[in-house]
């Protein structure tokens, strides 16, 4: 079991991701955007961050950069779950320090598999 921060401005997406992760035995903290994520994470550390890209206030890649700039989260797995599928964006994600890039539509089975893989390595 891991503690996972799920970041998405869409309430339905957040709920689906949380449901999936909790069903798989993980603990989930939800955040509505990058800024909210940074606040939440400062209060309770997590093992993995799963974030959307397009969000108000602070987008996913900015969140990745902010986390990578924080000693505590330099090595933490960060997955981006987004509809953005362009190579350009994926490259930007890699450059920012994201661990993985998953393209929506959201597939709960695949998400659980990927998270298992990332946490198990």
């Amino acid at each position: 079991m891991a503690s996972i921060l799920a970041v998405d401005d869409s309430a339905s997406m957040r709920q689906m991701v949380s449901f999936t992760l909790r069903s798989s035995g993980h603990q989930v903290i939800e955040a509505v955007d990058g800024q909210d994520a940074l606040e939440k994470i400062s209060r309770s550390p997590v093992d993995l961050v799963l974030t959307d890209q397009n969000m108000p206030r602070m987008d996913g890649l900015s969140l990745v950069r902010a986390l990578r700039g924080n000693e505590q989260y330099r090595q933490t797995p960060i997955l981006v779950l987004t509809t953005e599928s362009s190579d350009e964006m994926k490259q930007a994600g890699r450059a920012a320090g994201a661990t993985g890039w998953m393209v929506k539509p959201f597939d709960p089975v695949r998400l659980v598999e990927v998270i298992g893989k990332v946490l198990g390595r």
Partner: protein
């Protein structure tokens, strides 16, 4: 278009259908938000964050729709997102036509969502709209023919460009204007032609601009369709005088069916180079066709001169 209901739910314990309600509620909120942002847009002073916010509305609906397999909703929001993405990246400039199309898309989306929410087997064919938005996003000549300059680089006067009048009375909306760079002496004219029985009746007007290279730049704003008032909408960038254009156009449609509206631009010299057709020798100037109902101008009715346009003599004289 309608595999949405038949798509298998996510396997096993991850039955996501329990999240349908929250998705529909959220999609409704996003739609309402997108529309109010679009309606409040001031095309002269668009903030990046406003475009980002509109983008996110479409983006968010798309993400959920794709997850639930609401393919029609996902397809439409996908092209909207593509258009909005290019706009927010300043790769293309926003036009009233785009705003209008996005608002139209909102109406269609609402219906699509209602059908999906009611688990209806019906679906709404939005393929024409999807194609239109895709063309706008790709700067297609028919949908958005002019490679538009950034709006703030070529500000147009406020009145014809604000979105509000379009949405207040979509049936009689003024023609959507495109943002363009004008050469000295050129101006932008909104041209409405009609009411017509058939949209093609106005096609010869487009051909005039092909036949007469110096006449101006012609753009159809209506994808070749009549609007609710049986009007067609064009935009012309020209240095020719209204009266000369009217003379030309009325070869093909009744003069009363042609409505020109100048779309003045701030800080644009609209005087020089406007000699246009007036500088032509009288014998070279075209004659208007008598309107079906009879022209009010007796001189036009009585004219004995042939109604053939001496195209070859025009270009240099018109420049």
């Amino acid at each position: 278009m309608n595999e949405s209901q038949t798509r298998a739910p996510s396997p096993g314990e991850f039955d996501l259908s329990q999240f349908h309600d929250v998705f529909f509620e959220e999609a409704g909120d996003n739609l309402a938000n997108m529309e109010s942002l679009l309606l409040a847009l001031d095309l002269h002073a668009i903030e990046d964050e406003t475009l980002n916010a509109i983008f996110r509305c479409a983006h968010s609906i798309k993400g959920g729709a794709a997850t639930f397999g609401f393919q029609d909703v996902a397809d439409l929001t996908h092209v909207m997102e593509t258009l909005l993405d290019r706009l927010r990246r300043h790769e293309i400039a926003i036009t009233v036509g785009m705003v209008d199309t996005l608002l139209e898309s909102g109406d269609v989306l609402r219906q699509q969502l209602a059908l999906r929410q009611a688990a209806s087997s019906e679906s709404l064919d939005a393929s024409e709209l999807v194609a239109r938005i895709r063309a706008l996003a790709h700067g297609d000549a028919a949908a958005a023919p002019l490679t538009a300059a950034p709006l703030n680089a070529a500000p147009l006067n406020a009145a014809p460009l604000t979105a509000a009048p379009l949405t207040a009375a979509p049936e009689v909306a003024s023609p959507p204007a495109l943002v363009v760079d004008l050469a000295p002496g050129e101006r932008v004219l909104a041209v409405r032609v009609g009411p017509l029985e058939h949209a093609t009746q106005a096609d010869p007007i487009a051909e005039l601009f092909e036949e007469i290279p110096g006449l101006g730049k012609f753009t159809a704003l209506d994808q070749g369709h009549l609007d609710g008032q049986r009007m067609r909408h064009f935009q012309v960038i020209t240095s020719s005088a209204d009266s000369d254009l009217l003379d030309l156009f009325s070869f093909h449609v009744a003069r009363e069916q042609v409505h020109l509206q100048s779309m003045p631009r701030e800080s644009t010299d609209s005087v020089s180079g406007a000699a246009g057709l007036k500088s032509l020798p009288e014998r070279m100037r075209p004659l208007p066709r008598t309107a079906p109902g009879g022209s009010s101008d007796p001189q036009l009715r009585q004219s004995p001169r042939p109604l053939i346009l001496p195209a070859r003599v025009w270009p240099s004289a018109l420049r």
